[in-house]
């Protein structure tokens, strides 16, 4: 089964049909997805700003993480559910859309960036946790995150103009 076959199968699933036929399904899910941008990327941005040394620099990084990131993860869960529903309903349109693939790639890279930060950079955090200007690797991680998520948002909105 090719990826396109999988997309076609998804589009014919009961969930997809419900999304497309229900009067309120699409508007509610899209609204969830848009509002989720603020909760996910909007909060993550403040952790990224702390990493680049531009926001709440008097608070240790680990504390910013503990207070802000649970909300960001909740936001990303909302994005995953709403995004998943939107994808399932219009899977073949997404498959054929370049902006969709750029969006997915940017998200994957954001994941790699986060992984690199947590697995490698964060190991030495006890020595720079309270620093208002963290080491270059941490600042790069924050900057890269903000750039990548900006791309995700831009591609996400643009794809809806070119998908149908």
């Amino acid at each position: 089964m090719s990826l396109l076959d999988l997309c076609t199968w998804l589009e014919n699933s009961p969930v997809a049909i419900l999304m497309k036929e229900s009067l309120w399904g699409f508007p509610i899910v899209v609204t969830m997805h848009v509002m989720g941008v603020a909760l996910s990327v909007g909060t993550l941005t403040w952790f990224d700003l702390r990493l680049v040394g531009a926001g709440f620099t008097r608070t240790p990084i680990t504390q910013v993480y503990r207070r802000v990131m649970p909300w960001a993860f909740l936001g990303f869960a909302v994005m995953a559910v709403s995004g998943g529903l939107l994808f399932v309903a219009y899977a073949t349109n997404a498959y054929r859309n370049n902006f969709f693939w750029i969006k997915m790639s940017a998200m994957a890279l954001a994941g790699v960036n986060a992984g690199a930060y947590h697995l490698i950079t964060e190991r030495t955090i006890t020595s720079w946790d309270a620093s208002p200007r963290p080491p270059i690797a941490a600042r790069l991680a924050g900057m890269t995150s903000m750039v990548l998520w900006t791309i995700v948002i831009l591609m996400g909105r643009t794809l809806s103009y070119t998908m149908f």
Binding site: V30, V34, V37, A38, T45, L154, R157
Partner: protein, 152 residues
């Protein structure tokens, strides 16, 4: 007022936006960056004002959330104005759009009030509910915007 909207819609910039799909797409996309900044900052500052994050925040640090929100506002207002101009007559008569503008004024005033109190009386008890109110108003603006786009 109606004459003004008609005139606005007839300007060459407004017509260029109305006629170029990718321009509307780009403006709409950048508008969302502004949303993330404004609502995200409102959320984080509501957390801080409620004592749920950044304990011992200074007014200088809260000013940072204000600056981020201001940047987001400039982005959203700039892109929003161009998009509005392209269909000023229809948008100005749309109930959801009118609601969005009312909530926007309320949210902006609330934001200004919060930042004034943070500077002058940072231990004021009014800041906690004010932060929540400010967040609710910005969320309302965003929801009205979604309704305007999705239900027109």
């Amino acid at each position: 007022m109606a004459d003004f909207f008609a005139w606005l819609q007839s300007t060459s910039i407004a017509r260029a936006v109305a006629e170029t799909q990718m321009l509307i797409a780009a403006l709409s996309a950048i508008h969302l960056i502004g949303l993330a900044l404004v609502v995200g900052s409102a959320f984080v500052s509501a957390l801080a004002l409620a004592g749920l994050a950044f304990p011992g925040w200074s007014s200088a640090e809260m000013a940072a959330t204000g600056r981020a929100a201001l940047v987001g506002l400039c982005i959203s207002v700039g892109t929003g104005a161009l998009m509005f101009a392209s269909r000023a007559e229809a948008a100005s008569q749309n109930g959801f759009f009118q609601l969005k503008m009312l909530l926007f004024v309320a949210a902006a005033l609330c934001q200004l009030a919060i930042h004034r109190v943070v500077r002058r009386a940072p231990s004021s008890l009014a800041l906690r509910p004010a932060g929540v109110l400010g967040l609710a108003l910005w969320v309302g603006v965003a929801l009205a915007g979604c309704a305007f786009i999705l239900l027109e």
